[in-house]
């Protein structure tokens, strides 16, 4: 009992002092002038140079069973996850869904801020090296778009990186904090 009480603050201090590097993301989902709009499925992950996945950060998809608008048939939200083609290939197909702390509901049009910290799921401990942050979006009866932002980890100084989507994604901002 006593040991536990002592250990908890010690671990917290150790984690904070080792590194508290963080990644702040702003992911834009653009307003689209289309007659049939569905929120996009979005996957956000970190890739190593060999394209293996170092961390899944977020996957937004329809989680519950829903009714197909046209046929009225029940269908599970995971049915269309393979449309996130790169993510499905690099990570999704190897995982059991939903992924704790990663899977989430689809998000509306707007800017979505996400923060990931070293030592905490889903980022965890990212070994020093070169990586690419990838954001993939696929929309029912719409298109698909992938944005990639290369970065080095850990950052020596605060860094601001960005990419601009053209169709299914808006601005992507990546802020790395040592």
């Amino acid at each position: 009992m006593r040991v536990r009480f002592l250990a908890a603050p010690l671990i917290a201090v150790a984690a904070a002092s080792a590194s508290a590097a963080s990644i702040d993301l702003t992911v834009g989902i653009p307003q689209l002038d289309v007659s049939e709009y569905h929120r996009p499925y979005v996957a956000i992950w970190i890739e190593r140079p060999d394209r293996s996945v170092a961390a899944d950060l977020a996957v937004w998809y329809q989680q519950k069973e829903g009714k197909d608008a046209k046929s009225g048939k029940q269908e599970s939200g995971s049915k269309w996850l393979a449309d996130l083609r790169q993510w499905w290939r690099r990570s999704g197909r190897d995982k059991s869904l939903p992924i704790d702390g990663v899977s989430g509901a689809t998000r509306p049009v707007g800017e979505h801020r996400l923060r990931f910290e070293t030592g905490k799921a889903p980022l965890g401990e990212l070994a020093p090296g070169h990586y690419t942050l990838v954001v993939e979006a696929a929309r029912e009866v719409g298109g698909r778009e992938v944005l990639s932002v290369p970065f080095d980890w850990p950052p020596a100084s605060p860094q601001h990186l960005q990419a601009q989507g053209k169709s299914e994604l808006g601005a992507l901002r990546v802020d790395l904090d040592p």
């Binding site: 269908e75 995971s78 049915k79 393979a82 083609r85 790169q86 499905w88 999704g92 197909r93 190897d94």
Partner: protein, 270 residues
């Protein structure tokens, strides 16, 4: 003299390609990569000159077999044969890779009948003798083995259905056939009776032939290990075929064997 005649007959047999193989046979699945926990897929199967259009004849799906990570799938529904194509629905319930196809085996006889006319007949080991007229000479029987198939993966791909049997012409993927992307090379291997099928000619043709003016065939050859690589020029459905004459027939009556393998692959965009 007799020997010369035999060789002439053999050459003739080689030039008369087997009619069943004259058209391109194919099975096209409704999806090849699925993320649901279980899924129905539907298949179209036909043979013709154009890929992948139904404009000649259906493929016989009577012996359609679906093998998955846990053995043969029993749930095959709505088998139908139309004038131009056959179809069937398959229920995939376990994650893994499924091998979906049909294999045909038969005997093909070439002969010179009592009146000196060349003839040919097809049949099975049981009935081929009845198809050859009495008094026929220079009978040469070829065993034909042909496989037409495709691959579909539900969830995580696996390799359990790729284990070779050591019989006939077999396709053994090195690159998983449901992990094919435009611009990337894929490596595959062919075995003939369990041994590397070297110097085998392999033809790969992209689908949608109706909308271009050339076949755009990709001609490849296997190396000493029976392997070859193909870099997919674009996303789409592809037809692949290889056939080989040789090896030991598994039917005692046959003097020769011709084995062919045909598959449909889906290549996804990056």
């Amino acid at each position: 003299m007799k020997n010369t005649f035999k060789w002439a007959a053999l050459a003739l047999a080689a030039t008369i390609s087997l009619p069943a193989l004259a058209h391109k046979a194919f099975i096209v699945p409704s999806s090849t990569v699925l993320s649901d926990e279980e899924a129905w897929i539907t298949l179209d199967a036909a043979a013709g000159n154009d890929l992948f259009y139904f404009n000649h004849r259906p493929l016989n799906l009577e012996h359609l077999a679906v093998r998955g990570p846990e053995g043969y799938v029993q749930e095959i529904d709505n088998r139908a044969e139309g004038k131009l194509r056959a179809s069937a629905d398959v229920h995939l319930t376990k994650p893994g890779t499924y091998r979906i196809g049909t294999s045909m085996e038969g005997l093909f006889a070439f002969f010179v009948d009592a009146e000196g006319k060349r003839g040919r007949a097809r049949g099975t080991p049981e009935n081929i003798d009845k198809q050859i007229p009495a008094g026929a000479k220079d009978v040469r029987i070829t065993q034909t083995q042909s496989i037409v198939e495709t691959y579909v993966t539900l969830g995580k791909p696996d390799a359990s259905v790729f284990a070779p049997t050591g019989k006939g012409l077999e396709f053994v993927p090195v690159t998983h056939p449901n992990d094919l992307f435009a611009g990337e090379p894929a490596k595959f291997r062919f075995l003939l009776d369990g041994k590397p099928a070297k110097d085998l000619e392999v033809t790969v043709i992209p689908g949608a032939t109706r909308y271009r003016n050339a076949q755009d065939e990709i001609k490849l050859k296997t190396d000493a290990a029976g392997e070859f690589s193909v870099t997919w020029p674009a996303a789409g459905m592809y037809w692949m075929n290889a056939s080989v004459e040789g090896g030991k027939p598994s039917v005692a009556k046959a003097q020769a064997r011709r084995a062919s393998y045909t598959a449909t692959f889906e290549v996804l965009p990056q």
